[in-house]
């Protein structure tokens, strides 16, 4: 048994101690500040070039539904940033930051259920399916991709000790950002559509992140 300090360990400590220097500025906050804007810029460019803005763009800003469509994913993305910064650091738990993800989704579901119930049954199907439900989830995932890559790059510089959760946080951030950016193209303006397709579109990157985390975030 090694009760006595090992000589190798002593030498090891000498080596590490000799590399003491003012800690490089790789803390979570500044790190995200340097990486995430690039991911977001790429997502926006992708949306503008491959999809294009809504044809009624400036006018649509007056509609509350548009703000719900942009705001709820934005809230999810902001919560994702907090989660990323927390789960990337050893011994820090997500804590109440998950509420930042849960509450916007609940809001979307409530709005969706309310509009659904307030509409006569015959007129309901278009509220849910719109014209683009087939492509919505895929498009959100595609636009989320650059942010996802940037978020994983941040995590690899940090030290996630629960890589599946950290990966899920990266996916949540990317999903929220992707849905928020996609909302500027997406022609749909009904709450049930958002409650189903946007939520799935945001959940999918989170699941992918949880699945890839243990593989991509080893250190």
């Amino acid at each position: 048994m090694h009760k006595e300090p090992d000589v190798r360990t002593e030498n090891w400590i000498e080596l590490l101690a000799s590399q003491a220097e003012p800690a490089p500025s790789r803390r979570a906050g500044p790190l995200m500040g340097r990486r995430l804007p690039w991911g977001l810029a790429a997502s926006v460019l992708l949306m503008l070039s491959a999809y294009g803005l809504r044809h009624d763009f400036p006018e649509v800003l007056r509609l509350p539904m548009f703000w719900l469509k942009v705001g709820a994913p934005l809230a999810v993305a902001l919560a994702g940033i907090v989660l990323l910064g927390r789960l990337g650091r050893p011994g820090v738990f997500a804590g109440r930051a998950w509420w930042g993800v849960v509450l916007p989704v609940l809001l979307l579901w409530l709005a969706g259920a309310w509009q659904w119930l307030a509409t006569s049954p015959l007129e309901r199907p278009p509220l849910l399916w719109g014209q683009t439900w087939r492509s919505c989830v895929f498009s959100i995932g595609l636009i989320a991709l650059p942010v996802f890559v940037a978020a994983l790059a941040v995590l690899r510089q940090l030290a996630p000790t629960r890589p599946a959760w950290a990966g899920a946080a990266a996916g949540t951030l990317a999903g929220g950002a992707g849905a928020c950016v996609y909302a500027f193209h997406c022609p749909e303006l009904t709450a049930p559509f958002l409650a189903v397709w946007y939520v799935i579109g945001m959940a999918l990157p989170a699941l992918v992140g949880a699945a890839l985390g243990p593989r991509l975030l080893r250190w």
């Binding site: 590490l16 003491a20 803390r27 650091r89 030290a159 000790t161």
Partner: protein
Amino acid sequence: MPTLDVELELRALFLQALAGDESAYRLFLQRLAGHLRAYLGRRLFGWPDDVEDLVQECLLAIHNKRHTYEAAQPLSAWVHAIARHKLIDLLRARSVREALHDPLETSEALFAASDRDARDARRDVIGLIEHLPDKQRLPILHVKIEGLSVAETARRTGLSESAVKVGIHRGLKALAKRFGVAQAQDANAQGA
């Protein structure tokens, strides 16, 4: 020394180290190595040879990831999360490696144990039960090897007392089935 004092002292040293103080960093790493050695030694009971390697690996991880520590956080929580992460990594790699082992190799290890002391023999037994599921392995480890009571084992593992008994029974049966051949050979060798 009370835990809180250790926390405050180590934290002060670490913060100095993060500001570039080499001697504070050396002292911090030395003191931390002692705590890691004790922590990992308790958890790697059965593989004392791995403890020192893992201590060094943890020190390296702490060094490489020291920028993720923020002063508002308890240092013990940060260090513990890293040590636990590295420990789990090792156990996982080991369980994969052990699963690939041919059972014969394990029984050879059993034969080779004759000239070692009791602790080493105990280590070999621990090696043998390693592949059992936790529900069987832990009851056998605590009751049959460490000599704890069933009640104490139940308390430590969170299993019910009857689950502990069932776990021992099934685990020993699985072992007998798996190593029956080796045991028979062993008996023959002793008889000869």
